[in-house]
Structures are given as structure tokens and as C-alpha cells.
Amino acid sequence: MKQRISLAGGLLSLLMAGVATADELNLRPGVTDISQQVYDLHMIILVICVFIGIAVFGVMFWSVIHHRRSAGYEAAKFHESTKLELAWTIVPTLILIGMAIPATQVLVAMYDTGGEDMTVEVRGYQWKWQYKYLDDDYNNTFSFFSNMATTQDEIQNRSAKGENYLLEVDNPLRIPSNRKVRFLVTSEDVIHAWWVPDFGIKRDAVPGMLNELWTVVEEPGIYRGQCTELCGKDHGFMPVVVEVMEEADFDAWYAEEVANESVRQEALSKTFTHEELMEQGEEVYGTFCASCHQPNGQGLPPVFPSLVGSPYIVGPRDDHIKMVIEGVPGTAMQAFGRQLDAAQLAAVVHYERHSWGNDSDDITQPRDVIELSGE
């Protein structure tokens, strides 16, 4: 018996050691009214479970200690008791009803959609998020992609890991504080899940479906989460970052983005130099293509082909453009025509045709892409 206790003690202290060094042990209360309600519900149920556990295990261990043959205890003969059995059916039922009532209330509160001040479409891609700001008629005003910003050097342990390792993105979703924001969550390819723990909201992003979520955040700040539905190779590397801004700041930023959008529209009709295309192309390639085709263009054959000397790059340019616009259905090569605008597409195609020893003599302009995409 002593031995048993000391072993159990050892185990407990080991666990405690793990516990003591960690920042967080419990669900976070979060920053919204809903997340706070969820946290309270979690605590109620946890505490009930702990109490029932202590009671049941207490009885059991009392019995283990006292009702043992080595202590000379003779076995009793009873093997049923209708009263007891009724009691331990009815009492748990009552406890469960006690849990179900607040649970139902919180769930109903979460389903209180409508009356929103603005709507953002959240679209999952392998392996990034796209945020589209919709106007009152659900037209896209502007949109952008949000890619993980943690570098391969950090992941591969070649440089020190930053504080927000795997939880940082190039462009966070920005929303205003104190306004009811509605999210329409969907996906372009496989199922992802969009989760902001501090808001107490999580929803699957399912292709072909629009799932509705909403939140009101009072406290400006940066809130971080991750994709929680297995979505392929880089599932662990598609963080969700939301920046909640003061209302005035948000409005200023929003107006600026709307203005930028018209500049982007203009770029579509411009003619760029080789250098401009290479510079933009490298940037686009780094964010959208390098994860599969690798920064050096060598890919990871046989799954992700090398682009060096690829038939598409050696062959006619228009086939190359078309393949990037349309992708290859049924493979990881997506239809980038839906994610990138013509200027970005032109730049990345031009960049691929003039990098890593690829040496074409053509130049690719946005208008070439627009012609081929037939829009």
C-alpha cells in the first residue's frame, strides 16, 4: 500500500511540474460576452464532474482500503437493491437536466444572428485564409489573403522561434470593436475550420456551404487561433489572426483599402517592365507557390513537380498561363485564377519563366492573362 501511495504521489508531482511551468491550464474566458458564457458553462460542468468523481472514487478507494481480504474482511452477500439503483438513475438524470438548461440558453444566444453591422466572407484555401469584405448587397468591396508569416527557418529550427511562432500572418483580418460582425465561412477546396478561441467561435469551412457566425468584441487587440480541421499537408500552418481596431481607426483603414482596390483595378491595364514583373512575381511566388514548388523551383517530386525546365515553361506561354489559371483538377495544383488577379498572375508566370535557369524570351503582361481567362 505504501508503495502504491508513493508511486501515485510521484505521478502527481510529475503532472504538477508540467502544470506549474505552463502559462495556461484551462479554457480561456475570452473577450466576448459569448466566450465568457461558454467559459462559465465549462466551469459549471467541470466542477460537477470533479465532485461526482471525488464522490465515486472516494467510495471506491474507501472500499479498496477497508474491504480487502488481507485486512480480514469477509465478503457480504448482497447483489442488488432496487432503491439504490433507482437513486443512481434518477439523481444523475436531475443533474443532467441541470446542465442542459444553461447549455441550451448559451446555445440559443449563439444562434442569435441578424442585425449585423458588417459582413466578412471567410474562405479557406489549402493553406491560407481569404477575407472578403462584403457590402450591404453582398458584393465584394475588397479582399485579401492571410498567409502564415512564420518562416521556414524557424520551423526547420535554423533560427530562433518568435513569440507568435505559427500564430502570425502577413495580413490579419481586421474588424472594428463594438460592432456586430457577421462571418460567412466557406472553403475553396477541402474542409477547414475557422477558430478564434478568445471570441468563443469556431465553424467548419465546407466547400459549397456558407456557415454563419457572428461576434461583437469590445476590447481592441490582436487575437489568434488556428485551423482546426485536418486539411492536408500544411494544416498545422494556417493560423487565424484577427486584429480588432478602434472604430475610427477601422473606418480609416477601410476607406484606404477601398481606394487601393481601385489602384489594383488600374494595374490590370498597365504595361510593366521586366524588372517590375520579376519583383512582383517573386513576391507572389513566395506566398502562393513556394510551399509546394519550393523557393528554388525544384518542387518535391513526385508529388509537387519541379518547374525548372518543365514542359509548361519550355512550351508555349499561353499553356503555362492557362494551367495556372485553371489548375489541374483533382491535384493539389489549384485554379489560381480564382485567387490572384491578372496582374499577379502575369507577374508570377513571368517570374517562373525567367528564374532558376529558365530563360524564355517572352514577357507576360496583365492583358495577356485577361485575354486568356475570357472574362
Partner: protein, 539 residues
């Protein structure tokens, strides 16, 4: 029986006498129709798969020991999580329970063998091929299944590696094997009980397996349907799960979990049976509340068909649907509680000793109950949004499957080992194995509750820095647990080779027809129907 089968056959090595024994060499195992041989095959096969799945778990835990990618790339990591899950569920836990059923059902109901011995042989020998195919996919171009053991479409269809077709074929084979095994168990239990053993006198292991077998027959075809639809989507241009073609990826999840939730109980109901034998034996006291145990198992089985969407709370369902599945899931706590209370009441005022099977059984009750509590928490839809697909879920189902299902299997092996081999294992070694496993399992999985609550998603090869401490502890525990199962192998082999001879009733408190047979049990269990006395079975 055997006279009938062999009459008129020129079967010279398989003699005509009543007390004939097994063939010699490999033929014995390839062509055997004997329930004990087949049970043994199942058990060794499942142990082998357990080691394979265990190595995969250790690959996962090694990669997760520290943040950053150190040993494997994300693509291979996904193949490991997927195959670890599939192999442990379909290759380790399920076949182990079928192995136990093979050994125990005829002995416990007083029959000579299983009702359908040739099908029994087939249902086992399908398995090595099924798992051979599945494991071989890891070496194929493009890699093996990497979409999680739940293989959600379209990740498992449009976006899957080519090897998915082999995976589908392997799943079909496993399903066929399970269905045949279940038919056999049902036929044996319903037709071959000794005179006097009415349904409400059946041992609980028999009851739980009877119900489990019905669950299997009900849901394995559903799984087969799901993978067949996948096959059609992949190769024949249908769009069951392809949104672009008018299909619905969420429908896949409904179908999968309509199979998947009963599947969870398929892995735990026989465990309930095992524990209901072991606790009374070492408490030297009759099982408390036999009738309510039977009703509880039956109601759990019934409920298992109407709770499936609790795995899909975040998928986007109407409020009414969410509420329905939340309430039904909470209801499961009631019959499960009844079982735990009954076991506790059985121990209460018993005269307990704590041999290895009893230690594993008590650990089962405690740790399974912890898994039950986290299950109840997960049933509460609004909080499930926070827990869903985090390590909290991983902790939850490992608590019910490892110190739950697996501990019950280990307990059963120790408990019936003397009956199977005629030898006693070494008690000191057995206890050492218990303590190593008990400590290992808790160090591995308890911290995962914390990392889950703190927000760590499951199935990720790398994680943010705040989860580092828990992951390190968890990895250390996994290695302790893993190696203590190699020690289990040693204890078993040591017992088979140099154990002391066992008595017919190896445990003085053990009740049941199997203990009236000599140890080791004769090759054909009961050639004449035994007398069913109130002393041996539930009165």
C-alpha cells in the same frame, strides 16, 4: 458435432476419435476451425498490429517532443496519425475482442466450439491481407492515407493520394471480416447455449458481445457504403461528396459517424463485459445489479444510433439539430453511470485481493470514468465549439480507448491466461507491468487535456510555443507506456514457458462454466452439455 462433420471423409491426419487434438505445424494455423486456435491467432495478430500502431504513435510523439519540425515532414506525419488510428481501431482493439470472444464464448455458454467454424477461419485470415494492403500503401508513390482515420471527403477523395483505392479495398475486407465474426458470435450465443442457460442467465461478457455483434452487423455495411461512394467519386465520376458536382461533403460525415459512433461502443461494450467478470471474482462477491447491467448495455447500444452528430457540432447545423444531439448524447451518461455505480457496489464490502487482472480492472473503472466525464463535457454543444478538434478530444478518446478498452483486454488476458495455457503468469511481473502502464498512460494523456483547453488543435505536426511543456511530458509518457507493452510480451512469454501449473478454477472467486473445465481447457471445450448451476451463472 465432430462425428457428423468427419463422417465419410478420408481425413487421415484429422482422426475420427472424439478426443482429437490439433494438426502439427503451419497447417494447424492455416486450416484450423478450432475456436481456441482462431482465438489465439486473433490475439497474436492484434498484438502485432498494436505494436505497429504503437510505433506510429511513437513517431508522432517524437516529432511533437519539441516545437519545430525535427524528424518527419508534415506529409508523413499525417500518414502516421491516419494509420495509427486506423490500425489501432481496426487492427488492434477490434480483433483483440473478437479473439477473446472466440476463446470465451463457447466455454462460457457450454458449447464445444463456435457455430460456424469454417467461416471463423475465413474471417480471421482475411485480416492479414487487409492490413498487408493497408500498410503497403505507405510505400506507394504519393504515400499512404493521410486524411485522418475519419477520412473526411473531399480530402479523402478529390485530394487524396492514389493509394486511397487500396485503402478502400482494405476497409471492405475488414468490414467483411467483422460481419462474419459477428454472425458467428450471434449464431453461437443464440443456438449453442447449454440447456438451462436462459438469456438472463448468460454471463455479461456474452451479453455485451451479443449486443456488440448486432451493432457491428448494423453499421459495418454503412461504412462499406461510405467507402464505396468514395470509390465512385474517385474513379467513376459521381459527385456524392463533391460540392462542385452538386454533392455534399457534410453528408460524408453523417454517414461516417452513423457508423462511427456505434463503432466507439463496439470497442467498449465487450470491455464492460470483461470488467463485470473480473471485479466480482476478486471481490469474492456476486456482481451487483446484473439485470440493470444488461439493460444499461442495451440502452447504450440503442442510444449509440441517435447521437452521431455530436462529432459534427461545428459543421453548421440548425439549432434544433444541435439541441437534439446534445440531449441524446447527455442521456448516455445515465446508463454509463449505472455501470460504474454497479461495479463500485460490487467492490463495496467485498473481500478484495489485488492480483494483476483486478488492478487493471480498477484502473479501467477509474480512468474510463475520467474519459466519460470529458465525454459529457464534449456533449455540451456550446462548449464543444471550444473543445472540438483540439487535444482535449484526443485526451478524451484515448482515456476511453487506452485505459478503457485496452486495459480491459490486458486484464482479460491475465485473467483467463491460466485457463488458456494451464500456467500461471508471474504475479510480480504482472503487477510491475500494471504500474508501468498505469503511470505511462496518465503521463501521456492527462496533460493533453490541458494542451487542448489551452487551444492546441489535433493532427498538427508542429505547434505554438505555449504548448511545449505539455507535449514534452506527453512524449515521455508515451515512451514509458510503449516500452511497458514490450514488457507485457515478456511477461506472457515467460508465463507460457515457465509459469507454474494452474488449477481448473485458477482464481478462487471466479465463477462461470469456463472454470469448470480443466486448465488448459481441452481442445473441444464442452463435448457434452454441462449442467448449468446457480452457483456458476447468474441466478
Amino acid at each position: 458435432m465432430s462425428e457428423v462433420i468427419h463422417a465419410g471423409q478420408q481425413d487421415d491426419h484429422h482422426d475420427d476419435h472424439h478426443d482429437h487434438g490439433p494438426d502439427k505445424g503451419l497447417a494447424r494455423w492455416l486450416f484450423t476451425t478450432n475456436h481456441k486456435d482462431i482465438g489465439t491467432l486473433y490475439l497474436w495478430f492484434s498484438f502485432a498490429m498494436f505494436l505497429v500502431g504503437g510505433v506510429m504513435a511513437l513517431v508522432i510523439r517524437t516529432e511533437l517532443f519539441q516545437p519545430g519540425l525535427q524528424f518527419v515532414n508534415p506529409e508523413f506525419f499525417n500518414q502516421m496519425t491516419t494509420n495509427h488510428g486506423l490500425i489501432m481501431v481496426f487492427g488492434a482493439i477490434m480483433p483483440a475482442f473478437v479473439g477473446l470472444a472466440n476463446w470465451l464464448v463457447p466455454m462460457q455458454v457450454g458449447a464445444p466450439d463456435m457455430a460456424l467454424p469454417r467461416m471463423n477461419n475465413l474471417s480471421f485470415w482475411i485480416l492479414p491481407f487487409a492490413f498487408g494492403i493497408m500498410i503497403s500503401t505507405l510505400f506507394m508513390e504519393g504515400g499512404g492515407p493521410n486524411f485522418g482515420w475519419t477520412f473526411y471527403a473531399p480530402l479523402s477523395t478529390t485530394y487524396a493520394p492514389d493509394s486511397v483505392t487500396f485503402f478502400i479495398f482494405a476497409v471492405h475486407l475488414m468490414g467483411a471480416s467483422s460481419i462474419m465474426g459477428s454472425i458467428n458470435i450471434i449464431a453461437t450465443i443464440l443456438n449453442m447455449r447449454a440447456p438451462g442457460m436462459t438469456l438472463m442467465k448468460m454471463p455479461l461478457f456474452i451479453w455485451t458481445w451479443l449486443i456488440t455483434a448486432y451493432l457491428l452487423i448494423a453499421v459495418m455495411p454503412v461504412l462499406a457504403g461510405a467507402v464505396t461512394m468514395m470509390l465512385f467519386d474517385i474513379h467513376f465520376g459521381t459527385s456524392f461528396f463533391n460540392a462542385a458536382g452538386g454533392g455534399d461533403p457534410v453528408m460524408f460525415q453523417h454517414i461516417f459517424w452513423f457508423f462511427g459512433h456505434p463503432e466507439v461502443y463496439i470497442m467498449i461494450l465487450p470491455a464492460f463485459g470483461v470488467i463485470s467478470h473480473i471485479i466480482p471474482a476478486f471481490a469474492r462477491k456476486t456482481l451487483f445489479g446484473y439485470d440493470s447491467m444488461v439493460y444499461a448495455v442495451a440502452s447504450i447500444a440503442f442510444l449509440s444510433f441517435i447521437v452521431w452528430a455530436h462529432h459534427m457540432f461545428t459543421v453548421g447545423m440548425p439549432l434544433a439539430g444541435q439541441l437534439f444531439f446534445m440531449y441524446t448524447t447527455m442521456l448516455i451518461a445515465i446508463p454509463t453511470g449505472v455501470k460504474v455505480f454497479n461495479w463500485t457496489a460490487t467492490m463495496w464490502r467485498g473481500s478484495m485481493t489485488f492480483e494483476t487482472p483486478m488492478l487493471f480492472a480498477i484502473a479501467f473503472v477509474v480512468l474510463f470514468t475520467i474519459g466519460g466525464f470529458s465525454g459529457l463535457m464534449l456533449a455540451i454543444t456550446p462548449v464543444d465549439y471550444q473543445y472540438h478538434d483540439t487535444y482535449f478530444v484526443v485526451a478524451h478518446f484515448h482515456y476511453v480507448l487506452v485505459p478503457g478498452a485496452l486495459f480491459s483486454i490486458i486484464a482479460a488476458v491475465y485473467f483467463w491466461f491460466p485457463k488458456w495455457t494451464g500456467k500461471m503468469y508471474n504475479e510480480t511481473l504482472g503487477k510491475l507491468h500494471f504500474w508501468l502502464s498505469f503511470i505511462g498512460v496518465n503521463i501521456t494523456f492527462f496533460p493533453q487535456h490541458f494542451s487542448g483547453l489551452a487551444g492546441m488543435p489535433r493532427r498538427i505536426p508542429d505547434y505554438p510555443l505555449q504548448f511545449a511543456d505539455f507535449n514534452m511530458v506527453s512524449s515521455v509518457g508515451a515512451f514509458i507506456f510503449g516500452f511497458s507493452q514490450l514488457f507485457f510480451l515478456y511477461v506472457i512469454i515467460h508465463g507460457i514457458r515457465s509459469g507454474t501449473p494452474a488449477k481448473a478454477r485458477a482464481w478462487e472467486g471466479a465463477k462461470g462454466l469456463e472454470w469448470t473445465l480443466p486448465s488448459p481447457a481441452p481442445y473441444h471445450s464442452f463435448t457434452h452439455p454441462p449442467k448449468v448451476t446457480d452457483e456458476e451463472v447468474h441466478a
